[in-house]
Amino acid sequence: MADVLLSARGLTKTFGGLAAVNGVSIDLWRDRIHAVIGPNGAGKSTLANLLSGDLPPTAGTITLGTHDITRASPEQISRRGLGRSYQKTNIFPSFTVWENVRLAAQSRATLPWNPLRWLRRAARDAAVNERAEAALELAGLAGRRHAVAGAASHGEQRQLEIAMTLATDPRVLLLDEPLAGMGAAEAERMVALLLRLKPRHAMMLVEHDIDAIFALADHLTVMVNGAVIASGEPAAIRADAAVQAAYLGENA
């Protein structure tokens, strides 16, 4: 069995009386893409928010590597090696593409507010620039570095999401609909990128594009109404009657 890098047990999040996520357990393994699918409102994005610390869980535990991160803040979780991209583009629109990625790469510095570093020039930090350059290159944005992020195309902003996430050098990737709104050619490039990233990362992929899911996923978890109704190899899931009734049937 491959290494488990992230493991969540019995995660529950309730808003008032509604359980948006209900007793979900999920593992992410290095060199495997774990896709989470389900109809709108199934709780996929809430699950991602619980894992990244954007929301505190009502119950359950999350372990990243050997660390319990159950109620850790997003910045602590990020520093432990989890990177996430957002379904709704979440960038620094008034900065250039390069500055977006450079800032993400800079986040790995220790004590960044240290007064002894106030007089350094951010643009001249070779280690940060190198990490940002590599992430930009991987995401295929090297030619667009001078563009203002908010004025870039939708597809480019999705690539920028990934580049920023990669610039933090994560071991675990949570990607929330990275293909959303992309054209066919852009989506194909993104699928190729995810396959390149796979060997060194544990990846959770929330996605609606069924073709992409079956092209990429090593493991599938199907959520409906906040709960997991099936989890396993893609071929087994495809054959599962409950899943077909709840979800895949609409698309098949």
Partner: protein, 335 residues
């Protein structure tokens, strides 16, 4: 380039040249200006330092503080307490002590307020500043509502601050030094992170920045530099009173920063000079019949600021930049 509206962080060459000219004009001014005007410009420079310190919070980090005057006043009071009634005290230890007092107050208050966001931050900073105000206002031992006199300017040893011209140049050196320092900070990793927090704090945390530490460091630095301005104010006027920490003083600083243009420190300087200049102008307005226009200077000031916000949303500096970068002139880009 259809970029989203943004602060003018990198100053085009044309503006840099204009600022250099301004510095030369300030350096030459004592040679031609009267004693009265020299003192007025000294006061403008002190307020410019105060406005720049606020700009680090307001323009760069996106934290609008309505209590910044507290740190301005604390350093002024520190000088008053440290200066004996019958002899001057040394600049070289009263200045660090005053900065330390303001910085420590900013660290403690900042620790409590930078957790709050938006309107709550505004209210919390105002509440703490009012607490500081009343601490001094209601305590006879701290000077009470009358304030305290500072009988001597600090003794610098090498130069004589009692000389108005020397004091002018000392203030100018502080202004230039603070500007150069803050411009440097703006392009440091710390400054870039503060700008990131202004634009999208949520994403900053998701990529691993502890926004609390950054905001607290910025709040403390801003409070310390406001202290430098307050110290100079106390030294120049020889007098401190609770008004220096009051709500009006904080609000004036906000208006100066908005007037000049936020997020680049040069705008704060322009704003402070423009604000004080217009204030003198409006106060000197003549009476028309039974209507004393000069007495209602606050009204004209309000209208002036509203007009600037409507016609130059990026402040006077943004307006200058727009005039300077018409087709034909290319923008210089800083790293």
């Amino acid at each position: 380039m259809s970029a989203p509206a943004t602060h003018l962080e990198a100053l085009p060459r044309s503006l840099q040249a204009l600022l250099a000219l301004g510095l030369i004009a300030l350096a030459l001014f004592p040679l031609v200006g009267s004693d009265f005007h020299q003192q007025m410009v000294t006061r403008m420079m002190i307020l410019a330092i105060f406005a720049m310190s606020l700009d680090l919070l307001q323009g760069v980090t996106g934290l609008v503080s309505l209590g910044h005057a507290a740190f301005f006043g604390i350093a002024g009071y520190a000088l008053a307490f440290l200066t004996p009634a019958d002899a001057p005290a040394s600049l070289w230890w009263t200045l660090p002590a005053a900065l330390l007092a303001s910085g420590a107050a900013a660290l403690v208050i900042g620790f409590l307020v930078v957790r709050t966001k938006g309107i709550y931050f505004i209210m919390a900073t105002m509440a703490f500043a009012q607490m500081v105000f009343y601490l001094f206002f209601d305590n006879r031992a701290l000077g009470g509502s009358d304030g305290l006199y500072i009988n001597f300017r600090p003794d610098a040893g090498l130069f004589d601050l009692e000389d108005k011209r020397v004091f002018y140049y000392f203030t100018l050196a502080c202004l230039a030094g603070v500007y150069a320092f803050l411009r440097r900070v703006l392009w440091s990793p710390f400054g870039r992170a503060l700008a990131g927090i202004r634009v999208n704090e949520h994403r900053m945390r998701a990529i691993g920045f502890g926004s609390f530490g950054h905001k607290l460091a910025a709040f403390t630095l801003a409070g310390t530099l406001a202290g430098l301005a307050g110290y100079l104010w106390g030294a120049q006027t020889g007098f401190v009173n609770p008004e220096l920490m009051g709500f009006h003083m904080s609000a004036h600083a906000i208006m100066m920063v908005i007037l000049g243009g936020m997020g680049n420190f040069a705008g704060a300087i322009v704003g402070a000079f423009a604000f004080e200049f217009m204030l003198e102008l409006f106060k000197d307005l003549p009476a028309f019949g039974g209507f004393d226009a000069g007495k209602h200077w606050q009204l004209w000031m309000g209208l002036f600021i509203v007009a600037v916000i409507c016609f130059a949303p990026r402040g006077l500096l943004g307006l200058l930049q727009r005039l300077a970068s018409r087709p034909g002139l290319r923008e210089g880009r800083d790293g």
